[in-house]
Subunit: 354 residues, 2 copies
């Protein structure tokens, strides 16, 4: 498929990088392509960033057929720009499409389009350490049809948004409330897909937790509300008695790309790693007997987010003296080092844009 380019006639003034809040500033251009059953993907284009017309009867607004991804572009000291494992995002997005009865697409084509878009917007990639250009591919159903069935039309968009350093004031562990009322996802549902409904379902629990002074919730499984699944919108890891434990991918947990990278790193370092079911009772028992050494979330936004305190059924549990642990620190330094080009990349995770 051909990719056409329409340049914006007027460019925005770049913001002050230090003023950025996540996901509110967008660059001058975006990638768009459309799909129709029987015709396939068509009209791939880079065009000025703008509002787009949408039918008020579009399937996405009523029945939620939409999937998205999140990744980042980093500028290194030589002013070269790199992506981190974009092939993994494309693979997961296609998996999400399958679950939501949406059309799949050629991931390699989209990565090439993404690269061209970033090349055009290269001045939007912050050169400051810790900052990056956030990339948001999203696909949603556009057919005007109120019958409950898969849409016959879709739109694929890539937005770019410069983001500040997640840890401008240093890595501070967060306080987490273990969620025992609300459920994010359940086996047989859409938890393993990166789709809107999972995030919509999670807002209420987040709101309640914030009111009580916690920054995120620790999600338990939907069947027994007993086994640990995720933390906020991140995967979660624990160091228990020298071993690193993370919940196994069970169909309701998002298969995180940072999660996958962390597991590869830990195994590369020949550390003891277990992907298995982990109950909240086992975790709190480990905290009580002194074997819970570290806890941290993993995701694209923060890379690593240490957990300093857990709140469950009226009891507070402080982890590692509310400080970042050595494993979390080593993973954070290594992954952000690979992303910024300061650390060797033995896995071939970096993909050059320019």
């Amino acid at each position: 498929m051909e990719l056409t380019i329409e340049r914006a006639t007027k460019l925005q003034t770049k913001p002050n990088w230090s003023d950025l809040t996540f996901g509110t500033t967008f660059t001058d251009h975006m990638f768009v392509m459309d799909y129709e059953v029987g015709k396939g993907w068509y009209d791939a284009r880079i065009m000025p960033y703008q509002d787009l017309p949408l039918s008020p009867a579009a399937v996405v607004l009523h029945y939620g057929q939409t999937v998205f991804e999140g990744l980042k572009a980093y500028k290194d000291d030589a002013e070269e720009i790199f992506l981190f494992r974009p092939d993994e995002n494309m693979k997961r997005m296609n998996d999400s499409c399958e679950r939501l009865c949406m059309p799949t697409f050629d991931g390699q084509f989209v990565i090439e389009a993404m690269k061209q878009l970033i090349e055009i917007e290269q001045d939007w990639v912050p050169e400051v350490d810790g900052m990056a250009l956030y990339i948001r591919p999203v696909m949603y159903a556009t057919e005007a049809h109120l019958g409950v069935s898969p849409s016959k039309q879709y739109r694929f968009i890539i937005l770019l948004s410069p983001v500040g350093s997640y840890y401008a004031e240093g890595i501070n562990p967060v306080k987490i409330a273990v969620e025992s009322q609300f459920v994010r996802a359940v086996k047989g549902g859409t938890g393993a897909a990166k789709t809107a409904g999972n995030y919509a379902a999670a807002l209420k629990a987040q709101e309640v937790a914030e009111k009580e002074g916690y920054s995120q919730v620790l999600w338990l499984d939907g069947r027994e509300q007993k086994y640990i699944e995720e933390v906020g919108a991140m995967n979660v890891f624990f160091k228990i008695d020298g071993k690193i434990v993370t919940p196994e991918l069970n169909g309701s947990i998002l298969p995180g790309i940072t999660r996958k990278s962390v597991l590869q790193l830990l195994r590369h370092w020949e550390m003891d790693v277990e992907e298995r079911r982990l109950s909240i009772d086992e975790l709190l028992e480990a905290a009580k007997n002194g074997t819970l050494e570290e806890a941290f979330g993993t995701g694209t936004a923060a890379v690593i987010s240490p957990i300093g305190e857990l709140f469950y059924k009226g009891e507070k549990t402080v982890i590692n003296n509310n400080e970042i642990g050595p494993v979390a620190k080593k993973i954070y330094d290594t992954i952000t080092g690979i992303q910024s080009g300061d650390v060797e990349d033995p896995f071939g995770w970096r993909v050059q844009v320019i």
Copy 2:
């Protein structure tokens, strides 16, 4: 709040009523109002039906903050137009808003706006028996913001769509596959809210069932996949050994307005009614010993949809000789009779538009 009206300069030619397919034809006008945190609801207007601009970063497209309703307007023999229990739709929509961290609204104001819109579009309400004007209120998050938190801006829309007779060829019972892989909703999730994610999650199961020759799936609970919840996008009722049984509202089942009306009718008729947990095993056992007398779904679209066959774990169970049962028939005749004005309405369910 004031309601402004902008009339379409050119009206569409009305379609041939007998050619209508559900949810693809829209009338000439729609209702729109907007919301912003700190400002509240504003700019309520009736305007020409059209596509609306939406940011590609709008929260609804990424995180699924959207809720909707469905109801119908009926024209009786005197050419008067009536709604069926619109207050119940407004109440449920506000409940859905609470669950999705969306702003609530004044239901009475929206009903008045709905009436004005229908009055303008009165020629779009089919006069043919069994046909109606479908009304779709929908509210969705419009703020351009990729952070995972509730949107600060929303849009509320009412669309009107004339719909054909659901049973143009007579009421034929449907074949249903009991779903044992996919899950629609789970306790603690969003199943009791009328929100997009529930429908997105359901599409895959529907696709698989259709390929195997079944028109809908019977949903089991997300915790044990043992207890009956809904059928397709409808609530479900069974007549077992003379009693009418329907799953109790447990937090993952949609509180249907047709369901509520059916329960009121049955109790009005002094029939034995039970709202309780009902396992698929109990149901199939009843079928085996000859006490499963009827099965039917209830919803706004079909009112009553008799179930003629169930398929579960390789076995087919035929119900009531694959015919509509006397209770289902009596409920259907009574509710559609009240809706069309042919049967007395002792409950005050009809609300006059003009």
